[in-house]
């Protein structure tokens, strides 16, 4: 495991989530940020800030990334979403293209 293989996602409230790049790439938006160097200044430090995404939602998003990796590799579990999170999570997911 190398530090360069991870990326730090920062929520609106300044909470940090360090996840594998591989997981972050589940989001098309983040994938674009990470694979087009220079165009997104923050990605050079391996950090992406999401001022519009709250901490609870960002953590849920990260959990989804990992679930998605597991799911695509044949582990069939359900991804539980609390109903009160659905609207915000839906919008974040829409933004992140995941």
């Amino acid at each position: 495991m190398k530090k360069e293989d991870t990326v730090k996602l920062i929520s609106a409230e300044g909470f940090e989530f360090v996840i594998d790049k591989e997981a972050a790439m589940v989001s098309q938006t983040i994938r674009n940020m990470l694979t087009s160097p220079g165009s997104f200044a923050e990605t050079e430090h391996g950090e992406v800030t999401f001022p519009e995404i709250s901490t609870t939602i960002l953590e849920k998003i990260c959990q989804y990334f990992y679930w998605s990796l597991q799911y695509s590799r044949g582990k069939e579990t359900d991804f539980h979403i609390e109903p009160e999170l659905t609207l915000e999570l839906m919008m974040a997911a829409n933004y992140l293209h995941t």
């Binding site: 909470f15 901490t55 590799r73 999170l85």
Partner: protein, 139 residues
């Protein structure tokens, strides 16, 4: 209607392409020994969360070594506590031994200058979701 027939034909040929494509992708990207991400845990301290991919057979020491790469703290200065039970995790034991499951939250504490470990410090976000619980009716 004929046009629609055509479309369905077209779609089915697209599907075929997709199948072929997905096969080739599998061949390239997934060498057989790296296929499985068995599980991950969420290691939390203060306002930071580290998502660590791991396997139930890995020991706590293995996890601490992974953390060392990320936070630059020697494994001896790390202490991991399973949040569900409050149990301090032992270096020599495996995740499975200590019932650390997929998506589990594990608190990280670090050794202070006085050689003692700090108390568990996980900041709870005070974002919209929690705040609404508090003032539920006003929405």
């Amino acid at each position: 209607m004929v046009a629609f027939e055509e479309r369905s034909l077209f779609m089915s040929s697209l599907e075929e392409i997709k199948i072929v494509f997905s096969f080739s992708v599998c061949d390239q990207m997934e060498p057989p020994d790296e296929i499985v991400i068995a599980m991950y845990i969420r290691v939390k301290r203060s306002k930071a969360t580290y998502f660590i991919q791991c396997d139930p057979t890995e020991t706590i020491l293995d996890i601490k070594q992974k953390l060392h790469v990320l936070i630059d703290q020697p494994v001896n200065d790390q202490r991991l506590i399973l949040m569900g039970t409050g149990e301090v995790l032992e270096d020599s034991k495996t995740l499975a031994d200590q019932k650390v499951e997929n998506d589990a939250i594990v608190a990280l504490t670090l050794r202070k200058d006085d050689n003692e470990f700090e108390d568990i410090d996980i900041v709870k976000p005070n974002d919209f979701y929690q705040s609404r619980d508090a003032d539920g009716g006003s929405w």
